[in-house]
Symmetry: C2
Subunit: 413 residues, 2 copies
C-alpha cells in the first residue's frame, strides 16, 4: 500500500486536544497540570484509555513513563513518538501535549487505514518533564536513559516535602517495566517551538538541529536581620537588596547577549519576608541560554562576576549553592532521522527551517540512547508556559503529517 | 518617705528577662514569639502570674491587651508603663520585653519598699506590636485608642489565613474589658533604641522627642508568564525584573537621604516562582523613614517616580495596592511627662540625649489619648529585630531607674 497519501484526521486530533484542555483547567484558557497531581492522574487515565481503544498495549515503567505500543509486522524495537502531558504552573494546552496526542493521532490514522508497519510504533508520555512541582525538568526521560537513578527520582520533593515516589504510587503510575529494559529503534518528538521564529517567518515545519546550551545557577545571599527603622543604611546587610541587584544584573546580561542569548531569574525565596524586618536570606534561581555553548559560557562567567560584585556592593555574603547545565553539545540528533523529516516535508511540499531549540526536551536525554529527531511547529507569538499559549490549527497540521510520514518511513527500516 | 533613693533590683530584673528569653527561643540566642502563638500565650501566662504574685490585679481587654494594676492610695486613673511581649520573626530578647518587664520590676521595687503612690501604677502589655504574624504593627494599642476597630483587628489574618480573633480566643486572651473603658493618667514607655546613636555616644538615657515620619507602599508588578528558553529578551514582561529593579532603586533612595533617611523593601512575593517560567506577578512592601516629615514626603515622591520608571523600563504594569503612614506629626509626646524624665535623670546625675524614634511604638497611638513620653536605652551596635540583639546590663539599669523615678513623680500628681 502507498502510505504516502495518508493524512491525520485534523478534527479528531483537535477534539482530543480540547478534551485534554479540560483536565486541569487554569485561568483564562490555560492548564495547571503539575506532575503526579490529581489532574495529571486524570489525564494519564484518559490517555491510557484512548491508547487501549486505539488498539495499543500499554506498559508503564518504574518512573511512570507510559509506552503505548501498536504492534508491527515484526517484533522489533519500536519507532517511538512522544513528549509529556504535565504542564508549567500557569501552562498552556499544547506544550508537550501536542507531541503526545499527535502520536496517538498517528496510531489512530494507521488503524483507520489498516496499515501495519514493519516495526511497532510507540506513543510515549514522559513523567515530569516540566520539573515545576518536583524541581528537576525532564526527569522521567533522564531516568529512562539512566542518566539519573530511580532512587534520585523517587527522592525528589515538592514544596510541601511530599516525595515523588509517594505521589507516583498514590496516583497508581509506579509501573513494573524495569528501567533500561525498553529499547527504542528511534525517537521522534514534535513540539511547539515555544519561541517566535517559525510563527514570525510563517514556516510550518522547524527541523531541530540542536539544543541551546543552558546553564543554571542557584545563588544564596546572606545578610543580617535588623530593624528597618533603627538601622541606618551604612549598617545594613540586606540580603534582598543583594539579590535584587543581582536579578537586575542578570537581566542586563541577557540583553547584552540578545537577540540569541537570554537570561532569566525564575524564582526567589526570601527570609523572614515579613514586614518590619530587613531580610537576612535570599535565594535565586538563574537560567542562561545561547545556541552557541561558548557564548553561554561567557554569559555564565559574567553572571558569576555579577554575583560577586552585587554581593560586595550591597555588603552581603553569597554562596553558589548549585549549578547545572544541559543542551549544547550533549544533544546530538540523528542525521538519518532528520533526513526522514526533511524528506517527508519535501514530499508534502512544505517549507522547513533549521532551528535550535531554546527549551529543554525529553528528546535531549533520549538522543543519547536512540537515534532521535525533533520537529517544531509554530505557536502564536511564540508564547508558551502561559495560559495564553495557543496554536493556529491550519499552521499546525502540516508538521504532524510530516511526523506521520517520517515515522512511517523509519518504521519500515 | 523619700522615694528618691530607691532603685530597681538589677539582678531580679535580669533574671526575669532571662526567663522570658527561654519562651520562644530561636536561633543563636534570639526569640521568635509571634503574636497569639503558643509561645506568646506561654509568655502572657508567665507575665500574668508574675504580676499577680507582685500584688497586682490583672485585667484584659477585648484586644488582648493586659493591664496589671498596683493599687494607689486613691482610685484615680493610673500611671501606665508598658510595651509589648511579642517579637519579630527572628527577634531579640529585649525589644518591647524590656519595657514591660521594667514595669513589672517597678511594681516589685515599690512592694519591696512598701511604697504606695497616690495613683495606681499599671504595667501594660500590648497585643501584636510587631505585626509580624498578623500584618499590622501596634494593632493592640491602635484598637485601645480607638484608631482602629475591634472588628478590623479580629479580621486580620496570618499567612495561613487564620484570623486574629480565632487565635486570640484560642489562647484565652480575648478579655472582657470593653475598648475605651480604661483611661490612663499618663503613659511611659521604655524601649531599646533599636539604632546605634546612644550606643555609639555612650549615653545611657535617650529622651524621645518625636517619632520619625514613616510611609509605606505596597506595590504590585504584573507581567506575563512565558518560557525562559523560547522567549527572547525583547518579548518579555518579567514581573520579577520589574520588582528587582525597583527594590534596587528604593535602596538607592535610602542612600540619597542618608544618614537620617532610610528605605527598606521588607517583603517580596512572586508568582509562579517556579523553575522554568518567567514570573508574571511580584508584590513588594516598601518602608521609608525620616525624622523630618518633609524629607519623608520627598522620599515617597521619588519612590513613586521609581515605580513608574522601573515598570516602564522593564515593560511591566504596576499598581500601588496600598499605602500607609504613621509617626511624624501624629506623635506628640507630653512636655510634662518629658520633664519628669529629664528631672529624674538629672537627680540621678545621668547624661541624656534628645532623640527621635525611627521605629513605631505603642506610645505613638497612646500619645493621642493620654500624656505620653518615651525613654530609650542603648542596645549593642544598635542591632534589633535580630537574634543578635543585645543590651549591656550596666548601660541599661540607669534608664530603668529614671523610668521608676519619673513614674513615681507623676503618680503623686
Amino acid at each position: 500500500m502507498d502510505t504516502s497519501r495518508i493524512r491525520i484526521n485534523e478534527e479528531r486530533l483537535w477534539g482530543t486536544l480540547m478534551r485534554s484542555g479540560e483536565i486541569g483547567r487554569f485561568g483564562s484558557g490555560g492548564l495547571r497540570r503539575l506532575a503526579l497531581s490529581d489532574a495529571d492522574k486524570e489525564m494519564r487515565d484518559q490517555f491510557v484509555s484512548w491508547c487501549r481503544d486505539g488498539g495499543c498495549e500499554v506498559a508503564i515503567d518504574r518512573a511512570g513513563n507510559i509506552f503505548a505500543r501498536l504492534a508491527g509486522l515484526e517484533d522489533l524495537p519500536p519507532v517511538a513518538v512522544g513528549s509529556h502531558l504535565d504542564t508549567a504552573p500557569a501552562g498552556g494546552r499544547f506544550d508537550g501535549i501536542l507531541g503526545v496526542l499527535s502520536g496517538l493521532e498517528i496510531i489512530r490514522t494507521l488503524q483507520d487505514n489498516r496499515i501495519k508497519p514493519k516495526r511497532p510504533i510507540e506513543v510515549v508520555s514522559w513523567t515530569n518533564e516540566e520539573g515545576t512541582r518536583f524541581p528537576y525538568y525532564i526527569s522521567g526521560s533522564l531516568v529512562f536513559t539512566r542518566q539519573k537513578s530511580l532512587e534520585w527520582l523517587y527522592a525528589l520533593t515538592d514544596d510541601d516535602k511530599v516525595t515523588f515516589g509517594d505521589e507516583l504510587r498514590r496516583i497508581g503510575y509506579a509501573g513494573d517495566v524495569p528501567i533500561g529494559a525498553h529499547p527504542f529503534d528511534s525517537y521522534f518528538e514534535l513540539h511547539i517551538e515555544q519561541g517566535p521564529i517559525l510563527y514570525e517567518a510563517n514556516v510550518p515545519v522547524g527541523v531541530v538541529i540542536g539544543g541551546a546550551a543552558v546553564r543554571g545557577v542557584y545563588v544564596i545571599f546572606r545578610g543580617q536581620t535588623a530593624h528597618p527603622g533603627g538601622t541606618p543604611m551604612r549598617r545594613r546587610k540586606n540580603a534582598l537588596v543583594g539579590a535584587a541587584t543581582f536579578i537586575a544584573a542578570v537581566n542586563d546580561i541577557g540583553w547584552k547577549f540578545a537577540p540569541i542569548g537570554r537570561t532569566t531569574t525564575t524564582r526567589i525565596n526570601v527570609w523572614p519576608n515579613k514586614n518590619g524586618t530587613i531580610p537576612s536570606y535570599a535565594e535565586v534561581m538563574v537560567d542562561m541560554r545561547h545556541q552557541d555553548p561558548d557564548e553561554t559560557k561567557r554569559m555564565y562567567v559574567e553572571t558569576m562576576a555579577a554575583v560577586r560584585q552585587c554581593a560586595q556592593e550591597t555588603g552581603v555574603d553569597f554562596e553558589v549553592h548549585g549549578e547545572w547545565q544541559y543542551g549544547g553539545s550533549d544533544v546530538v540528533f540523528d542525521q538519518e532521522c532528520i533526513a526522514c523529516i526533511r524528506k517527508a516535508a519535501k514530499a508534502l511540499n512544505l517549507p522547513t527551517m533549521d532551528i535550535y531549540s531554546q527549551a529543554g526536551h525529553d528528546a535531549y536525554p533520549v538522543s543519547r540512547v536512540a537515534p532521535t529527531a525533533m520537529i517544531f511547529c509554530p505557536c502564536v507569538d511564540g508564547l508558551s508556559h502561559s495560559e495564553a499559549e495557543n496554536i493556529i490549527p491550519e499552521q499546525t497540521w502540516p508538521s504532524i503529517n510530516v511526523l506521520l510520514q517520517a515515522v512511517l518511513a523509519r518504521a519500515e527500516r
